[in-house]
Subunit: 451 residues, 4 copies
């Protein structure tokens, strides 16, 4: 998205806003425009939006509703969402009739009819809100507020499927654009990258520059045409000779960059989802695979594609195991073997085995790995390749992952096979080294013990 | 959409294609890739696409299905659509169960469940097809083929709601971009304008230039970000001093352009929908209103916004009326009063009245005007302002509209009021002149006669 | 140059024009603005432009002068150019003094002084004219008019070095941009390509499309940032398997394109200079070499880079030779052996040899080849590789080149060596085949005879 | 300049570099490419560049020379510049002959001849260096080094006119583009803005954002198409209601922005030249006038265009006056009346008068104001409108301008008149208030005294 396009686009946004505002002058729905927004008032406007057949009025109403919503307090928003639940479902009589007809004659045609009758009015409401200037971004933000409201009031959960359904449809992979983010990118986008980085914090513009400007660093993001300045997800890549065993070397301000042409390995060391309002709409697998292809095209010398990933569930799991008393935590609730030489040695021996065991053998109720990052990469078809000790000695790394990180390896020719085996039978593709490590841990039905 | 963007985008399309192609090498679904496409084979791939959990494979499969579909004959496509109808509906058992549950307890939550159970698998199939390179355009084209197949086999009608539903959602006004088309526009887009013009044929590049390059001509189109070179709908505008009474003067190659700053009137003299596959997704009202706003902003001197529109249903209706024997048709099936002075005089007196009557008083079964163009502009809130005799003397103009054209007038301050009156009670906003004209026609229950 | 940029730029052009126009309201140079332009009036304004210290006024004056000049008749332009010659040279007294000082003391510093004193006021005048909106394009056009005026009045020749000097400096290779022209290019540029093609006429938009849209066709042009829609020079390229022996196959509307990836040979079959006003500023050699590099990068499978070139001076030269009476011309002044079988055979034997002789042995007064196209390619370091009989059977091809065309071959590794040999000693790099062909012609001091 | 353009361009730059590098393989000038650069070696290559007729070789040589130059030490660069002075002047014999001919017959034609003979070879050398990738920027940088070398060795002064001449010609106003810089601009450009701000330091990205992102702030820059990421000059604008009397309010991080539509006044509060290598090529007057036009077009509500400018020469001048002993400086060499109430009062009375006197009455040897900023704005046709006490209390403001700032006012309708009066007779347009202030100062031939 270029500067001039943005400005051109913004001209049209203003025009559109201007249509909306003009139309507002024509409608009188019983209250003045400057009246303070209330959820009741917005619900009234939402009914008008659905009943209105005038499309210009539709944009104006949508715009007014979005403006009003954004001024509501959290409580008012919750009230509004409750109204969405109560008043904007499907037509009950119609749906009942369609259900009865279908049960009498479950024909394909009657299936279509029931499908149409079952669609809640919320969906058309959301589609009309999307027509307003900057509507897509604002609908995404409404869902973000909705998810927050659901956290404290699960009764609102029934409103979410309509948002989720439409956003899943609108943020289809076919509509996304991959862009490389670098020092030529606009400050407006770059500041969002700083803000959104969720794995290894970016401390400021100089730190950001170190991640996008040197010849051996890349950052790629997916964008949606209607969230032009706002990335959906991004991945940070380091180009290296060998597979790195720690994040410290990658993030060091003092390291010497290498020419991209000398790189043999692309390391995906950070992946961040950016939009809370798009939770559950998954972009990561598409992103990694497209970036692998993009890099192979640009740098034919690349041989290996690996991650350097945290083990975010490891420490929490470890707490529940017998082996913990043998270890120690310091006052800051960090594992402190790193600094204590007397414990360092045994920890260095014991911990990678525990991590390998955790990743390979500890499963959730569906039989898949407990660890979310492991599920993600293994589900994408990657191989669990290596566990690295003292790979992330930052406070968060020590607390979450006991300072370890994992390399998952993407081998294009095996991705499909690994994915199918994992999806169908939860089989994990792993290196011999990790398998062996895991076998150093004894584990039957109870907590693990170290061999 | 600029040239360089297109090329950049095309690079990514190729990459994406490349991912797809590479993935194809990994999957073996029992047949070789070069095997001739068959509808049975494609149906098999569609099932695989829905069952596959691997997203890279998904893009590859989608791509393969789209490639294969495009090679099918019409008959094979019909067979494929029948399979979509038969094999990709909702899960019958699940839907039955949800219907029963809902009938027992029509709660909001059960309504959500039935809505989810009722969604045909076709919708997810279409969403996954959309992920392929150039997927959106190709899905639109599939629907175009589907509509053709339905024409000869109405049994396929039940497949269309899923395409219609998704395209209606994906081509939401919020995703469209208005662009001015002019002589700086790429030839790739311009040739499509020539191709798509459906009202007043563009005879070649010089004719096109006369419609977009002079200072008193404009052409605006809506684009979707994923159909970048392909307009969805466009409108041609002439900037004039007065409201024109004929199309001949507007299209004349010999006319003298005026500076845009001298224009007082913007005339919408041609609106063309471009994509058969988007039939029923309506853009025209949005387009006209946004162009009005755009022009007002650019040219504050503009006072009037009118159309110069055909009366496409008039001649067909007239055939059914008593008055016709008093008129004559020539050997080419054209109304020939234009050239025959003896008939010309009475026709000139009689015809505008008949047209006014037709537009104001002849209704369809729902009580709205018979004439589709009248329904469109009146439904948008325009006023039926003037009927013009000998306004389009081209063969088509003579045959369809008996050489007449109508000015519909868009007055921003009245649009909402007119629209509401029309939508709610089929009331038509009209000028005094047209009302009077219509009253010259006597009409009771039978065919009209002229006063 | 993209559509949106052009429009953005044009906004600024208008602003600039607006500054100029506003400023005009402030100056009163004794005549009203609407007075008909005259060369005397323009000369007066030129003096004002040079004396004015106000830069806003400078742009306004420059704009007024350019507008006025463009309304002059040819005779008035000639008068204006005479005034440029007479009134805008260097300061005579100052130059005399500087010359005397230099002759007394030819120091480096005095050389600088004489250089500054010798610069005609015309150069500063042209630089100030260039500041006006669209100034660069308009200065180029003034030189085009000047060259036409010189043709009929060589006395004006002394004005040209100043235009030539500045344009040579402003159109330095470092300022030019290479662009590929294709079907995504704007109609505004494409129509100029049609207009400017000087070698093999483009008959319309369909013919143009055949040269830029198929996968095995390319067209590249140099642009200057300030002549954004207007190419300076372009080359048309056909991608083929083998070196082509005729233009007919390349231009045929019926040929089957090949995928670019199958091409082994890039054929430069047409090079056109576009701007008369830039005569003498040479772009061709830069263009060919950069296109060779661009194509090698995009299509690593390319092995050979050759031209298919006319021999424009051949027929004229042949007229002066003894051998002509043995041949015949038809009523249309075309060589007619092509159609007359009795002459065809000997011509086919004799003509290529004559052409080879002409290209290799017939020299201008400086010892370089008589043929301008040969001088160009050989001067660029190409090899005279092959003479093709019946290679261009169009009327122009028959009349100018007796239906023959030549392949010059660019071998990157030999370019420098060939160029140096040609530049230093007029040595021609040639294939054995062409050398042998030339030896079939006997030639001593007089006209040639055929062996 | 957009991101994608830059990348497209950079592809071509690489291609061009690739041509250059390839060509290097073909030339052997007696030394290997990896030999350490030396000024003697570069001089040798410069001679080769001028003698070479091969244009591809020319680009390669130019590239090699520029690369080499950039590795030289300051001393080596000085040596190189001396060689440019000694070995690349005009042909002495030819210039002598032309001078003699001209003195015998000072005809127009002989003037042209002497002009051509007098051009130093340095100019063609610079033009050929400009052909190399990124040549323009690098030539600008060479001149920057040259100016530094001249500072310590005035003997090199004679080399500068050739650089100055070409850069003056290449950076003609007609080639520049105005761009608004805002938060959508690339980080690569923004960091240069931070770097180049010369008047009121930008302390970091947040400070920068406060100057370009709020609705009542603007920053405009001139760019050259070949220095795409690098501004030539920029101006910072504050949109305000009234004419501001101090810089503190404008730069305050705590101020409340106003909507642009409420602004009545545009304040030019900082103008920075960016390129040392373009010293003497003046852009400021063009920039201010175009920004005035741009703002008037965008914001018709603007009534006043004023500067808030320092008086950089005031304190230095004041030191030389009798009045100084009555004032005091503190240990940090700052005027300390600001903080010392006992002195504050009289200073507040006395200082504005002294400043008004200084600006109006203190002249340089040519009779123009001593103060450079005053000369600039008055020369542009502005009015000396107001002197503001305690308008810049920063250390620099206190030290240079004794904490005062001046509003110069640009009234479009008076610019031309003021400019002419200033240029022709050094007459200063001033407000009554400033005139009166100046009269409070008694001044005859010696230092000033306060009334």
């Amino acid at each position: 998205m270029t500067f001039r396009q943005l400005r051109t686009r913004s001209v049209f946004s203003e025009l559109l806003g201007s249509i909306a505002e003009r139309s507002l002058n024509m409608i009188d729905l019983g209250r003045t425009r400057s009246a303070p927004a209330s959820s009741a008032r917005l619900v009234e406007l939402c009914h008008a939006l659905l009943s209105s057949k005038g499309e210009a009025t539709g944009i104006a109403l949508a715009w007014q509703i979005l403006n009003g919503f954004e001024q509501l307090s959290s409580d008012q928003k919750a009230t509004f969402f409750h109204a969405l639940a109560a008043e904007f479902g499907p037509d009950v009589a119609g749906l009942k009739a369609a259900a009865e007809t279908y049960l009498q004659d479950p024909s394909d045609t009657n299936a279509v009819r029931i499908s149409m009758a079952a669609e809640p009015q919320r969906q058309e409401l959301i589609r009309r809100l999307n027509q307003a200037p900057d509507g897509t971004r604002r609908v995404v933000n409404i869902r973000s507020d909705l998810l927050a409201a659901i956290d404290s009031d699960p009764g609102l959960l029934l409103v979410d499927p309509d948002f989720a359904h439409l956003l899943y449809s609108w943020f289809n992979r076919g509509f996304l654009e991959l862009q490389q983010i670098n020092w030529e990118t606009s400050a407006a986008i770059l500041e969002r990258i700083i803000l959104y980085e969720a794995v290894h914090e970016i401390t400021g513009w100089e730190d950001l520059r170190r991640r996008i400007d040197p010849p051996d660093r890349r950052l790629y993001a997916f964008f949606h045409p209607r969230l032009a300045n706002d990335p959906l997800i991004f991945v940070e890549v380091a180009l290296t000779v060998d597979t790195p065993a720690s994040i410290q070397g990658i993030l060091s301000p003092d390291r010497d960059p290498i020419p991209a042409s000398e790189a043999k390995t692309a390391v995906f060391y950070s992946i961040s989802n950016c939009q809370t309002g798009l939770r559950g709409v998954s972009f990561g697998s598409f992103l990694i695979k497209q970036v692998v292809e993009t890099l192979k095209q640009e740098l034919p010398g690349l041989r290996d594609f690996v991650t350097l990933s945290p083990i975010p569930g490891f420490a929490a799991w470890l707490e529940t195991q017998d082996v913990v008393p043998a270890l120690a935590r310091n006052a800051d609730d960090e594992w402190d073997w790193v600094d204590q030489s007397e414990l360092g040695q045994p920890a260095a021996q014991m911990m990678p085995g525990l991590a390998a065991h955790y990743l390979l053998n500890e499963k959730d109720s569906a039989g898949f790995p407990r660890d979310a990052v492991a599920r993600f990469h293994l589900g994408n078809g990657a191989i669990l390749d290596r566990v690295n000790w003292l790979a992330d000695t930052s406070p968060r790394g020590r607390k979450q992952s006991c300072s370890m990180m994992v390399n998952y390896r993407y081998k294009l020719e095996d991705i499909e096979k690994n994915h199918e085996a994992f999806a169908n039978s939860a089989a994990i593709a792993t290196s011999t080294a990790v398998s062996r490590l895991a076998k150093t841990i004894r584990h039957q039905s109870g907590p693990v013990t170290v061999t």
